[in-house]
């Protein structure tokens, strides 16, 4: 792996991972209504 590549890799995954995790958390919270 080229120098600095690791940081670019982490940054790229954070850019898409943060909104995706927020969206999944919203749906999980909504799904909980099924078990209440």
């Amino acid at each position: 792996m080229a120098p600095g590549e690791r940081w670019k890799l982490v940054a790229a995954w954070l850019v898409v991972g943060i909104p995706a995790a927020w969206g999944v958390a919203q749906v999980i919270a909504k799904s909980m209504a099924l078990f209440r």
């Binding site: 792996m1 080229a2 590549e5 690791r6 670019k8 890799l9 790229a12 995954w13 850019v15 898409v16 991972g17 909104p19 995706a20 927020w22 969206g23 999944v24 919203q26 749906v27 999980i28 909504k30 799904s31 909980m32 209504a33 099924l34 078990f35 209440r36």
Partner: protein, 465 residues
């Protein structure tokens, strides 16, 4: 000019030391954005009260009319994937992703103008036609690129991207609700402002994908931890490359077209009915809130299935994986009426979650199946042509389910029992899909692309040659 040359296919070739694991985030940026389309229904009610605000007023659009916006978008997804699939193989992923971002983001802006002027045709032109073209370009471009980067795990790679499409609604839906609440005033539903913000935000997000995507350098191969073991272990190695024009004349293409069409038809119709269905099958037990939770759970199963099943297909083999989708899906669909009669919500939800995971898995595994059959040369273009099956299923599935239900209720069948026949019909569709998959055989060598014939320069510039 410098910016334009930056978009060229040759300028997207990865330098030495580039990690291929940076390509999935680029693909996900596109798919998470365009997956918003699945959440368009969140705009249905606000769009139906643009004039009356608190309730429908004369001149407000009917819900059935608004439903056409999403349908047109899905039809144009298929049409643009069909039409531009070949172009994107030549232009490269960066240009295709930029075009996708411009169409998808720009479509929102045109639709915002349509909402502001209360011109329905402008909303359809913006979100349905222009946005739909962006959907088609954005759907196939990253998939084709990932297949080239992950020859050892094509199922996992495409599953990751297509999982993003399933997950896009999870971001798009709460984002739209939050923005509409922010922009809502006593005289406005806040829809046009929301469209503008979402159009710009999605354009920027997709541009991240366009600027970070890379193609493998010529001759590049993944360094595998155990030599070439992983490649040799793959149950179905890629065959020779087949030209897109040749591919659509093979029975394998049309069998896979039927496989996708039947799998999607069986899932999509029932997915749209999920909320009323669980409430009518368990009256007094499941209310509207719990039903919304059920729909959310199905979305999660759909998304997770895209990655899990597609990754599993790298080990099981593509044909065997589809056998599981169709056989297990048919058994589960046929068993659902019994879970309703037994009053078991847990079994009903569990069976449905597995069915939806396989519905998503069907979408995610098909590009790798195409790669096994037709090679990687024109896999994006072939995938684009196969997606017409989705366009047909997107219209046929809901029509079939709704018509059958209305027909039965019209003949005096109780609403709760009317779902039983629908489930048996879905099971029958999956049995047909099982048969179509059964007949898929490797493509004959006579269809393989003759290298050096001077017919197509694209494969020769491709990373794997």
């Amino acid at each position: 000019m410098a910016l334009l040359s930056f978009l060229d296919r040759d300028r997207t070739i990865a330098p030495a030391g580039f990690s291929r694991w940076r390509v999935p985030p680029a693909a996900l940026a596109i798919h998470l954005a365009i997956g918003q389309a699945y959440a368009f229904s969140v705009f249905n009610l606000p769009l139906s009260t643009l004039k009356g605000i608190t309730s429908r007023a004369p001149g407000d659009w009917a819900l059935t009319t608004i439903g056409w916006i999403f349908s047109v978008a899905i039809v144009f997804l298929g049409l643009s994937a069909f039409t531009f699939g070949r172009w994107l193989e030549q232009a490269g992923p960066r240009k295709a992703m930029l075009a996708s971002a411009a169409c998808f983001g720009g479509g929102f802006l045109v639709a915002a103008l349509g909402v502001q002027l209360h011109e329905f045709w402008l909303v359809v032109l913006g979100y349905g036609v222009i946005g739909g073209i962006g959907l088609g370009l954005g759907y196939i471009s990253p998939v084709s690129t990932l297949i080239k980067w992950f020859p050892d795990r094509p199922g996992m790679a495409t599953g990751m991207a297509i999982m993003g499409f399933g997950g896009g609604a999870m971001i798009g839906s709460p984002l739209a609700v939050a923005l509409m609440e922010r922009f809502r005033t006593p005289t406005s539903m806040g829809v046009s402002e929301t469209f503008v913000v979402m159009g710009i935000a999605y354009f920027v997000f997709m541009m991240f994908g366009a600027f970070t995507v890379r193609l493998p350098a010529p001759g590049w191969a993944p360094s595998l931890p155990r030599g070439e073991g992983a490649l040799r272990r793959a149950p179905v190695a890629a065959g020779g490359d087949v030209h897109v024009d040749r591919a659509i004349r093979t029975p394998q293409f049309w069998l896979l077209w039927a496989v996708l069409c039947l799998n999607v038809t069986a899932g999509i119709g029932v997915l749209g009915q999920a909320s009323p269905m669980i409430q009518e099958m368990f009256p007094g037990t499941i209310g509207a809130g719990a039903a919304a939770g059920f729909v959310g759970l199905l979305s999660l199963a759909n998304m997770a299935g895209r990655f899990a099943w597609s990754s599993a297909s790298d080990h099981l083999g593509r044909k065997r994986t589809y056998m599981i989708y169709f056989a297990l899906g048919a058994v589960l669909y046929a068993s659902i009426p019994a879970t309703g009669r037994a009053g078991s919500v847990v079994l009903f939800v569990g069976f449905y979650a597995v069915i939806m995971s396989m519905y998503g898995g069907g979408f995610a595994t098909i590009p790798a199946y195409l790669r096994d059959e037709f090679g990687t040369m024109h896999v994006g273009a072939i995938h684009g042509r196969l997606l017409t099956a989705w366009s047909l299923a997107g219209v046929a599935g809901p029509v079939l389910v709704n018509y059958l239900r209305e027909y039965q209720i019209g003949r005096g069948v109780a609403p709760r029992d009317a779902y039983s026949v629908t489930m048996y019909l879905m099971a029958a569709l999956l049995v047909l899909g099982f048969a179509a998959n059964w007949f898929v055989r490797p493509v004959g060598a006579e269809h393989h692309f003759a290298r050096g014939a001077g017919r197509d320069p694209v494969p020769l510039r491709d990373g794997r040659h």
